[in-house]
């Protein structure tokens, strides 16, 4: 890439790419914030519920928009290092896989399950809802940043990759919090739900108390 190309890409990012990033967030994040939004709603006065949820979303979105700059810079740097999209995709997939098995990822996922106490009155309530959005957003970025690189590189199958990442991120949140460890983690619970439901429909239990060897 020429110097003018680099500059052009760098200038383009805050404008068009930021808008694209916002669209991507708007498409991918709603399933991930249903539970914390419900928490913000239920723990607020009836006349403050909409406001609390709005402030949560603003805080959450602000973190992701900030993170978006960093992720796009990373994407740009990778593209500068190698113009081959497949190489970039392989690099980001490797980073995502490494992050996926790390204790750090679990640390972030555990914090995605947090439901903190929220102040109820006045400015303190506004701050609490916004802070909850910030902290939840930070945990969410920590858990998903590597996965979010994938759709940035998958130019040919951008929408499909985005959908796959969204489903994966949603499914892995179904698992409970867990101790920190190096191990594979993913949408296991979602697969177990599907398997259990299939088993129940194909081979329902016959007796009230069944003993097994």
């Amino acid at each position: 890439m020429t110097l003018s190309g680099i500059c052009s890409a760098g200038l383009r990012m805050p404008l068009a790419d930021s808008f694209n990033w916002l669209l991507m967030l708007a498409a991918m994040m709603p399933p991930l914030i249903v539970a914390p939004l419900r928490h913000a709603r239920e723990r607020s006065f009836a006349h403050r519920r909409a406001r609390a949820m709005f402030l949560f979303v603003i805080g959450y979105g602000a973190v992701w928009m900030t993170a978006g700059i960093g992720l796009q810079v990373m994407a740009l740097a990778a593209q500068l290092a190698s113009s081959d999209t497949l190489t970039c995709l392989a690099l980001s997939a490797s980073a995502a896989a490494l992050w996926q098995v790390s204790p750090a990822k679990q640390w972030c996922l555990n914090r995605c399950h947090r439901r903190p106490q929220l102040a109820a009155f006045g400015a303190a309530a506004d701050r609490a809802a916004f802070d909850f959005g910030l902290s939840h957003g930070a945990a969410c970025v920590g858990a998903c940043w590597a996965l979010m690189l994938l759709p940035l590189f998958a130019r040919q199958a951008h929408v499909l990759t985005m959908l796959a990442v969204m489903l994966f991120a949603f499914a892995e949140r179904l698992e409970n919090a867990a101790p920190l460890a190096w191990r594979w983690r993913g949408p296991g619970k979602a697969l177990r739900i599907i398997a259990a439901q299939a088993r129940m429909h194909l081979a329902p239990r016959e007796r009230a108390l069944r003993t097994n060897d």
């Binding site: 439901r115 109820a120 919090a177 619970k189 979602a190 009230a208 069944r210």
Partner: protein, 504 residues
């Protein structure tokens, strides 16, 4: 023929046959190795195990052969708390345990119809004597029913459950399933997946279940809880099983009084957590077998071949409440019988800062939202002329964290300044024992570190404040009085104390 579980106080003598055979069965289980699935310690670990505490108390020794990873993953750390699975999981646990003990009893020449007695602490105050003595009835030592780490309500080794501190108010809950949004947690708990320690305890779980655990176990320090005080050691104490038989009995009492009380009909409850990708309920049985079960299979006690010698119910607290609000006695009874859980829940008030509980008391004030308070007042004013139940009001102790499960405290509202709260039982909002708080406060474990949330029905207190006009002051004064002074090292904190209104 059904197995009948009897009140331990009605067996005729301290060491009546059912207790004597229980002791012999416990001794046989205790003689088995840790990695034997039907050993005493394996069974206790099914409820929960915290290796450092087990090592500290000598229940986990360097010479022990640890069970295989497959066995530990399948069986250990299963107990369901803070969940609508609390009652059915423990019913299965009791049935399987009883089968293991009965098998040992029969092998020793005992009766084939042996059944686990239950401890009815609503009838008599003390610990059943067979559990309080280090000796067998002939005076020889090594009574397997006795444990050293059972410190009692005053942490002095004198174990009893004060009659004035336990109640069956949970039986008045109209619905089994509660809500997690600040309203009633229901009789049996809120909907969860597999929950080895959920956030919100159901009404029967908070009182009497947790409270009895806390009072019986006690603790010498945050690092030295009584066995019964902590879910990770509770199953090691032989009195645990009689306590849970009583809780199991109360489930059946609730189901029968009145007949409108029914268990959840949702598929997730009936089919259990395994149907939604969670851990299956599985327990070892005699003869190398195992029992897998679902909550739906635990629902009908008589179909399981069990009953209790006493399934009578106390008077409905809702009837008393309706009368207090001016509803005619006949109408009050009718309303109480057709009342289902109201589902609309809204925040009514909250305190402004999290509080630390240490020493002998903690205080905070709750400001009420004027609009929500007005809606409540209107509803209570109309109670006498409506044919529906009035709004209910719940105090929430949110995000209770700490490292000492042995912490137990009473919660009072608006105790007159300078007065001893013990002299004002009508201001008692409820009693809370922090059974499970250590695990629930760990950020990087199966919980997210949010701690526990307790929901106490304060409708009666609010009724009185309403009738006297004191509710119009817009503030509630909350006083927390620990059963024993709380050490600072226990790190007990309460994130927020709030009040919710639940209406039709």
């Amino acid at each position: 023929m059904a197995n009948t579980r009897q009140n331990v106080w009605a067996l005729g003598s301290d060491w009546a046959d059912p207790i004597l055979w229980y002791a012999r069965g416990v001794k046989a289980m205790k003689a088995r190795a840790l990695n034997d699935r039907i050993s005493w310690r394996f069974y206790a670990a099914i409820h929960g195990i915290f290796p450092p505490l087990w090592q500290q108390y000598g229940y986990l020794r360097p010479t022990d052969t640890i069970p295989s990873t497959a066995d530990r993953n399948a069986y250990w750390n299963q107990c369901q708390h803070g969940s609508w699975y609390f009652l059915p999981w423990h019913r299965g646990y009791l049935i399987a345990f009883e089968a293991v003990i009965r098998d040992a009893v029969v092998a020793l020449g005992g009766p084939g119809d042996w059944a686990l007695p239950y401890w009815n602490y609503f009838k008599q105050e003390g610990l059943p004597p067979a559990f309080a003595s280090a000796n067998w009835p002939d005076g020889t030592g090594d009574n397997p029913l006795f444990v050293q780490q059972r410190y009692g309500p005053n942490n002095d080794g004198n174990v009893f459950v004060p009659l004035s501190e336990v109640n069956m108010n949970a039986l008045g809950e109209p619905d089994f399933e509660g809500v997690a949004s600040g309203g009633s947690p229901g009789f049996g708990g809120v909907a969860t997946g597999f929950a080895h320690g959920g956030r919100i305890h159901g009404a029967i779980e908070t009182q009497p279940h947790d409270w009895v655990h806390g009072l019986v176990g006690g603790g010498l320090s945050p690092q030295e809880p009584g066995l019964m005080s902590d879910p990770d050691t509770a199953g090691l104490d032989p009195i645990f099983w009689l306590h849970h038989a009583n809780i199991d009995r109360l489930w059946e009492v609730w189901r029968q009084n009145p007949a409108t009380h029914v268990d959840p009909s949702k598929a997730n409850w009936i089919n259990g957590p395994a149907s939604t990708g969670g851990h299956a309920f599985i327990l070892p049985m005699p003869g190398g077998q195992s029992l897998t079960y679902t909550p739906g299979e635990m629902s009908n006690l008589s179909a399981l071949g069990y009953t209790y010698d006493d399934l009578s119910a106390p008077p409905s607290p809702l009837v008393a409440r309706l009368e207090r609000l001016g509803v005619d006695v006949t109408e009050a009874t009718a309303v109480a019988r057709r009342t289902a859980m109201a589902k609309t829940v809204e925040l009514l008030g909250a305190n402004t800062e999290s509080i630390r509980l240490s020493g002998t008391e903690a205080r905070t004030s709750i400001a009420l939202d004027p609009a929500a308070r007005s809606r409540l007042s209107t509803n209570l004013n109309e109670a006498a002329t409506r044919s529906a139940a009035p709004d209910r009001v719940f105090l929430n102790l949110e995000n209770v964290r700490g490292i000492s499960d042995a912490t137990a405290f009473n919660v009072y509202i608006n105790v007159p300044e300078g007065e001893n709260p013990a002299n004002h039982p009508d201001h008692l909002a409820g009693s809370v024992a922090l059974f499970g708080v250590r695990k629930a406060s760990a950020a990087d474990d199966k919980h997210a570190g949010d701690g526990l949330t307790y929901v106490l029905d304060i409708s009666s207190i609010i009724d009185r404040l309403h009738l006297s006009g004191a509710i119009d002051a817009g503030q509630l004064h909350v006083l927390l009085v620990p059963r024993n002074p709380v050490a600072t090292e226990a790190q007990i904190s309460i994130g927020r104390i709030s009040v919710f209104r639940q209406s039709n």
